[in-house]
Amino acid sequence: MSTVTDEKPAVEIKMIPVYIMGKKYEVPAELTIMKAIEYAGYKYIRGCGCRGGICGACATVYRKPGDYKIYTGLACQTVVEPNMYLTQLPFYPAIRATYDFSELHGEAEEVHALYPEVFRCVACNACTKVCPMDVEVMDYIAAIKRGDLKAAAEISFDCIQCGLCASRCMGELPQYHIAQLVRRINGAYLTPKAEHLQTMVANIEAGRYVKVLQELKAMDVETLKKTYTERELEPATAGDDWTPQSNKGL
């Protein structure tokens, strides 16, 4: 039988050197860049974001000794490596065109007029190489140039708007803003409308649910609870085409 003691098991923490904005720090080797920055004593006020690899707020640029390549990653997702030189780049200035979306028609020429700098692209591919989400940035810019907004929207789908593409662009394009406009256009004009949604909206506007909602609002709490618990439940094994016998309480 084991005895409980106050002694903590001996865990060996391997420390490695990293250079944060040029200054050397010893940090535990298992940490992400974000945690290593905090371990080193920095406090995040902004540029931290979701800590879940989604929001794109913690884009980080780093280099490794003896390697000319630029490496990038999200600080919250990338684990530190010995002797890496890093800095976070939570924001990179890029001009976003001003437009009234309701006045657009979804034409490629409108995108070209709002972002004429798209034609400054020389296909150097620096944007794609730097993208921490592995988006083929140069390819969606190429698609925009030839007016294929649907392809551009699909290629840029994983963009998290971190802005690293814009930081590396020799044509000075604000790629991620252009891509966002294109995805908006794709959603509003190029993607087929969901017919069932339009039917539902029409039903709602025609007042189909007004009576039911008013009845619910008029109920006292006990009746409301009873109606809820007695509603017809969907069986766990129900198929996609299951419909309730009664919509009471649903």
């Binding site: 490629a108 020429e109 692209c121 020389v122 296909a123 150097c124 591919n125 794609t128 190489k129 140069m138 390819d139 810019i141 190429a142 140039k145 030839r146 007016g147 294929d148 020799m170």
Partner: protein, 293 residues
């Protein structure tokens, strides 16, 4: 094996008529082409500065894509894309020093040594398909069309990428002859249309374009055929401006080479997008019973 097809940006927007008629013709001719799954703008103009290698990167990347696809030949329809891709290919094949620089810069792509062959619709038909074989497929000879084939610059210059003898080309005339049209020879067939001067010096470009059209008319043409969207803009779209500047300016129907090819092969007008041409282009074909009114 299927031929890798490089369309170019303009053929997907303002010059859809050039592409659509060509693709329809390929089907009838049994030429199997496959658009490159990934491609970028070729840059449209080959950079003449000796040390401006960054502008060679775009066309080389397209050639790398073609090679990655396992293609031996890249087919183009746009004269400017042809010129840009062919010259970039020529550089990668013959200039060892610049090739190394470009290959080193594009270190995310496999090295390229100019292995792919760049062709244009015109020389592809001459060298690979053959005029004789094409003649057998012509079901609607272009009777009544007195066409002046207009080369412009980029199909014939510089010498390294010229589709034919730059000073005395015959290729375009041969094709038009095969399609049953009456070929009009005219001295301005290889004169520059004014190209990008339309932006910086639009009046000068207009004068040059006007000179080319009147030359064709003076030699008896009632139509012109070309393969370049920028020539089409200068000679076709700007005719209304010519009419307000010059007295007695005649109307000149302008066609892409692919559109006349398609019509001669019996393909319907709906595959040719004539709404992107001058109105007179459709009317001339209707007047000669080549398409139904």
């Amino acid at each position: 094996m299927k031929i890798a097809y490089y369309p170019g940006c303009t053929l997907k927007t303002k010059a859809r008529n050039l592409e659509k008629a060509a693709l329809a013709s390929f089907k009838v001719l049994g030429i199997e082409v496959e658009e490159l799954p990934r491609w970028n703008c070729c840059g449209a103009v080959y950079s003449l500065a000796d040390d401006d290698l960054i502008h060679i990167v775009a066309p080389v990347r397209d050639l790398v894509r073609a090679q990655q696809q396992g293609a031996e030949t890249v087919l183009t329809l746009c004269a400017m894309c042809y010129n840009t891709l062919a010259r970039a290919n020529d550089l990668m094949k013959n200039d060892e020093e610049k090739r190394d620089t470009i290959n080193r810069f594009m270190d995310e792509e496999p090295d390229y040594f100019g292995e792919v062959k760049v062709v244009h619709l015109l020389d592809y038909i001459r060298d690979d398909y053959g005029f004789e074989k094409l003649a057998e497929k012509v079901v609607k000879p272009l009777k009544g069309i007195k066409v002046a084939p207009y080369y412009g610059c980029t199909l014939l210059r510089p010498r390294e990428v010229a589709l034919d003898k730059p000073d005395q080309p015959e290729l375009f005339q041969k094709l038009m002859e095969t399609l049953g049209a009456e070929v009009i020879e005219f001295p301005s067939a290889t004169t520059c249309c004014g190209t990008y001067q339309v932006l910086g010096n639009p009046e000068a470009a207009l004068d040059v374009s006007h000179g080319i059209i009147t030359d064709a008319v003076d030699h008896g043409a009632n139509a012109m055929a070309l393969a370049c969207p920028l020539c089409d803009y200068n000679l076709g779209k700007r005719q209304d401006q010519m009419k307000s500047k010059f007295e007695n300016m005649p109307e000149m129907p302008i066609y892409y080479v692919s559109q006349l090819l398609a019509i001669a092969l019996g393909i319907g007008a709906e595959e040719c997008d004539f709404d992107l041409n001058r109105e007179s282009s459709l009317k001339l074909l209707q007047a000669n019973n080549l398409i139904s009114a």
